[in-house]
């Protein structure tokens, strides 16, 4: 996020797009609701009328996967009606003319047909979001989990730059991160193209610096593989050994049958986890790890805040901290690493090697932690980025993008669109929440959420067990008929193995980010 949670409660206007915040980021949503109670405006853009929409001035029920058409159209109206921040655009951005030209193809009438909206609603949104400044834009996986996910993100950024809502408190572009430490895992360089602190592996100086620090002659100079490519590599044998740390890929990746075929093809699979799960079934070696409250360490939240994690009780049996396990393997490969605690790893390596974290030391993290960038030990941390229009590359660059539909369209055989997400009481594949007393009583099984209209058309009653079928598989679960889901859509989560939506989802990916299209595939619903 460019901005921080403490700005939410003070914000005057929000646009929340593709984010079921009350369930997936409940506490963040409480701040939005607090602001609304104090008079802030809220526009919710989402195919589903989820609970946050109950607090909104306007709910924009666009068709799944039509976000770019919608956003481009809003931009078109803003430019047409001269409602954008001309001063900010002139002084802090480049590429405005390209954007202007691109969005000419998206007048509200055209976009309305793509989005399944009223053209006037699009105009209304443009007028409202430009009437109050700044507007805070929040999004989640509804934006990224599409084959056009990267373009969605660019379209969102175009909008906020055009409105001059960057570099100010209570504004900005704010993706809420799904997992507690996705931000941190990215920051730490658990990505195929960057070292810790986003230093590119193809940059010779960066390689030189890390090679020296890590005591090796050279470091690999080509970007590595992303998860979907690794998985395919297991089948074509370009990947022979696969090491999965703490992810239940057999349930979380799209098209479970394909994923399990890939995992079964691994010549040598190491799984490091806290529980046996669907993925460890395929392992050759399983390494038992210490869990959350059995470790000292740090997490980094969506607002770039590095906070401490502390030990409450010892790990069971022989389970050991993950960093210890990696260190032991490195030792067996001929590398002796000095750091022998999480604190030593942070203070002596991460803070030294990544300039953003230079001023962050364990000694400064008691209390509320620190938000990076925090370059030196006197720095108080950074609440919001791009202050005074100062973008990392100088000026903010508009990158015009075109709308592309989801890869799989509804058709005669599969007339409905399945979209997926998370529910409040569970987390991902339930390896943790499913083992907490009471959580399964709150939510004990998956449901097939569908509109009253579609349910009536298929003569499906509330609570009736139905089968959902896609080109990849079928699952059975009870129908949950609700007017929060629009006509033509079926909505499911992936918390339960049996009725896991990922038996159905489409393994197609954004060509750049390799994010899967979890949000849209074609299905049909059958009576059983």
């Amino acid at each position: 996020m460019t901005n921080s949670f403490n700005e939410f409660a003070r914000a005057k206007m929000f646009m929340v797009i593709g984010s079921n915040m009350t369930e997936a980021h409940s506490v963040a949503a409480t701040y939005v609701k607090n602001a609304v109670a104090k008079g802030a405006r809220l526009i919710v853009v989402d195919p589903r009328r989820h609970a946050l929409a109950d607090h909104a001035d306007l709910h924009v029920p666009l068709r799944v996967g039509s976000d770019i058409a919608f956003l481009n159209s809003v931009v078109q109206v803003l430019i047409e009606e001269k409602l954008y921040d001309q001063g900010f655009v002139a002084s802090c951005t480049v590429g405005f003319e390209d954007l202007k030209e691109k969005v000419q193809a998206y007048p509200p009438e055209t976009a309305a047909a793509i989005c399944g909206l009223d053209a006037d609603l699009i105009r209304e949104v443009a007028r409202r979001i430009s009437a109050v400044k700044p507007m805070m834009l929040c999004y989640t996986l509804g934006i990224t989990e599409h084959t056009c996910g990267r373009n969605n993100v660019l379209a969102v950024a175009n909008l906020q730059m055009l409105l001059g809502n960057m570099g100010v408190a209570c504004g900005g572009v704010n993706p809420l991160r799904g997992q507690n430490n996705v931000q941190g895992a990215c920051d730490m360089g658990a990505l195929p193209n960057v070292f810790p602190g986003y230093q590119p592996v193809i940059n010779p100086e960066a390689r030189e610096k890390f090679a020296t620090a890590w005591g090796v002659d050279r470091l690999p100079d080509q970007n590595g593989l992303m998860i979907p490519q690794m998985m395919e590599g297991l089948v074509d044998k370009s990947v022979r050994a696969f090491y999965i740390f703490g992810e239940n890929l057999a349930n979380t990746e799209p098209d479970i049958r394909k994923v399990e075929h890939e995992l079964a093809s691994a010549e040598f699979l190491v799984c490091q986890d806290i529980f046996p799960n669907e993925t460890t079934r395929f392992a050759h070696v399983v390494l038992p790890a210490a869990a959350w409250s059995e470790n000292e360490g740090t997490f980094t939240n969506s607002e770039r805040r590095v906070s401490r994690v502390r030990t409450a009780s010892p790990a069971p049996g022989l389970a050991r901290p993950n960093w210890w396990i990696f260190r032991e393997i490195a030792r067996r490969l001929g590398h002796e690493w000095a750091s022998d605690s999480a604190q030593a790893i942070w203070d002596n390596e991460i803070a030294v090697l990544a300039p953003q974290f230079g001023g962050i030391q364990y000694g400064r993290l008691d209390g509320d932690g620190l938000q990076w960038p925090c370059p030196d030990e006197a720095h108080p941390g950074t609440c919001f980025l791009h202050k005074d229009g100062d973008f990392t590359c100088g000026l903010g660059v508009f990158t015009p993008v075109d709308w592309t539909p989801p890869a799989e369209q509804p058709c005669e055989d599969y007339p409905l669109v399945l979209s997926t997400g998370r529910r409040l009481a569970h987390y991902h594949t339930r390896t943790q929440t499913g083992r907490c007393d009471g959580m399964n009583d709150i939510l004990g099984e998956e449901t097939v959420d569908m509109s009253p209209h579609d349910a009536a058309g298929l003569a499906i009653a509330q609570g009736e067990t139905v089968r959902v079928r896609s080109r990849r598989g079928a699952v059975c679960a009870k129908a949950r008929v609700t007017d929060r889901v629009p006509r033509g859509m079926v909505w499911m989560a992936f918390h339960f193995r049996e009725a896991n939506a990922n038996w159905l989802t489409n393994p197609v990916f954004d060509p750049v980010t390799m994010t899967a299209e979890y949000k849209a595939c074609a299905v049909r619903v059958e009576k059983v």
């Binding site: 890590w214 470091l219 740090t298 939240n301």
Partner: protein, 379 residues
């Protein structure tokens, strides 16, 4: 909004304040304690309990500090005889209004034992009240030497507790109707699940037309538990287990979503027995959701992996760390030698600590020699 500095006199001291502050806020800013029961910071004052009353020169009655705006030249007494007497009366009425069976001072007039037995029957345990030692009413009753038997006990004592949901025990017999839970639910979390119901002596906090929480809009965030000053709302999992005098509090960060809420882990005998939100902390200011508050006990599951495992046919056998790690290193080395380092790939964990991800990418880059390291950044 004016930020003008004014002064008033509190307990004989001249104190500066900003216009718009309440007497309670002025007192707090200067370290003068004023007891409160119904006041919930950050929400609108309800004035329900009146235990915060103070004496203001020139005012006919005592005034609630939590809702009285400070004014220039006010002369305020926070612990005068009148104030203390009024507070004692309020506390004694509250004690008599429910099953407050902690050992607050009482005359030995016979009904105490009988009362205890009745409460224990209602609780179905002879354990102490679940809030014993962590109850604001109990604390104030001691401080103001309030007696529990000055007034006749009211009928509310007979209301049975609601146990029909997995997380929250609502014990109406101990509710003092302070309304903090209602504020927490409606103004802090804005879930709008509970409200005041009925009137007068029948007053009760109700969920959607006086139904069990499980059938209401309640999302089990537990904000109301954290707000309840007495034993009327308690965590089912911690009831009768968590005791403040055994408690050791450890601050940590929630393991679920990317908000990164700050939690207190309440540890007893080496086990987490409950979790609460860290008040005034960023980013959550005391708030948690159902996962953060109740999703902690998976770590004690018997199904945890406790020893390294090595595949043998269709099964696994237990192994030592030496053996398992040697095997991993040998197999990796063999792949590196035959197919090159890029034939190895790894996925890190977006749930684990930074230091683990750092260490794993270092293993792949420095020790194996490949950039084939990724994590589920995209789900």
């Amino acid at each position: 909004m004016s930020e003008k500095q004014e002064t008033l006199i509190m307990n004989g001291q001249s104190l500066a304040f900003r216009t718009g502050q309440t007497l309670l806020e002025v007192a707090e800013a200067h370290g003068i304690p004023i007891p409160t029961l119904c006041h919930l910071k950050g929400t609108s004052p309800t004035g329900a309990c009146r235990v915060c009353v103070v004496e203001v020169e020139g005012a006919r009655t005592l005034l609630p500090a939590c809702s009285t705006p400070a004014a220039a030249h006010m002369v305020v007494q926070t612990e005068s005889r009148r104030v203390v007497a009024a507070r004692r009366t309020i506390l004694e009425l509250l004690l008599a209004s429910g099953n407050h069976n902690c050992a607050v001072p009482s005359e030995e007039n016979g009904d105490w034992t009988e009362f205890q037995l009745r409460v224990q029957a209602a609780d179905q345990t002879d354990d102490l009240c679940p809030a014993w030692g962590d109850c604001k009413l109990q604390e104030l009753a001691y401080a103001y030497q309030a007696r529990s038997d000055r007034y006749p006990r009211t009928a509310k004592a007979g209301l049975p507790p609601e146990l029909a949901n997995p997380m929250i025990v609502r014990d109406f017999s101990r509710c003092i109707l302070c309304g903090r839970c209602v504020q927490a639910c409606n103004e802090v979390q804005v879930n709008r699940a509970i409200s005041y119901g009925y009137r007068g002596a029948d007053s009760k906090i109700v969920a959607a037309g006086d139904r069990p929480l499980a059938d209401s809009d309640c999302v089990f965030c537990g904000e109301c538990i954290q707000a309840c000053p007495v034993g009327a709302l308690v965590e089912k999992k911690a009831r009768y287990t968590w005791r403040p005098w055994k408690d050791h509090k450890i601050r940590t960060t929630c393991p679920y979503c990317g908000v990164g809420c700050q939690q207190w882990l309440h540890v007893q005998d080496g086990r987490i027995v409950k979790v609460s939100g860290v008040e005034d902390a960023e980013p959550n200011r005391g708030r948690l959701c159902v996962k953060g508050r109740f999703g902690y006990d998976f770590i004690y599951s018997e199904e945890r992996l406790k020893t390294p495992l090595i595949r043998e046919g269709d099964d696994f056998r237990e192994a030592s760390w030496e053996e398992a790690l040697d095997l991993v290193a040998t197999r990796f080395k063999a792949v590196m030698d035959t197919h090159g380092p890029d034939a190895i790939a790894g996925v890190s964990c977006a749930r684990s600590i930074n230091e683990d991800s750092y260490q794993m990418q270092k293993l792949f880059r420095a020790a194996i020699g490949t950039n084939n390291i990724d994590h589920c950044a995209r789900t």
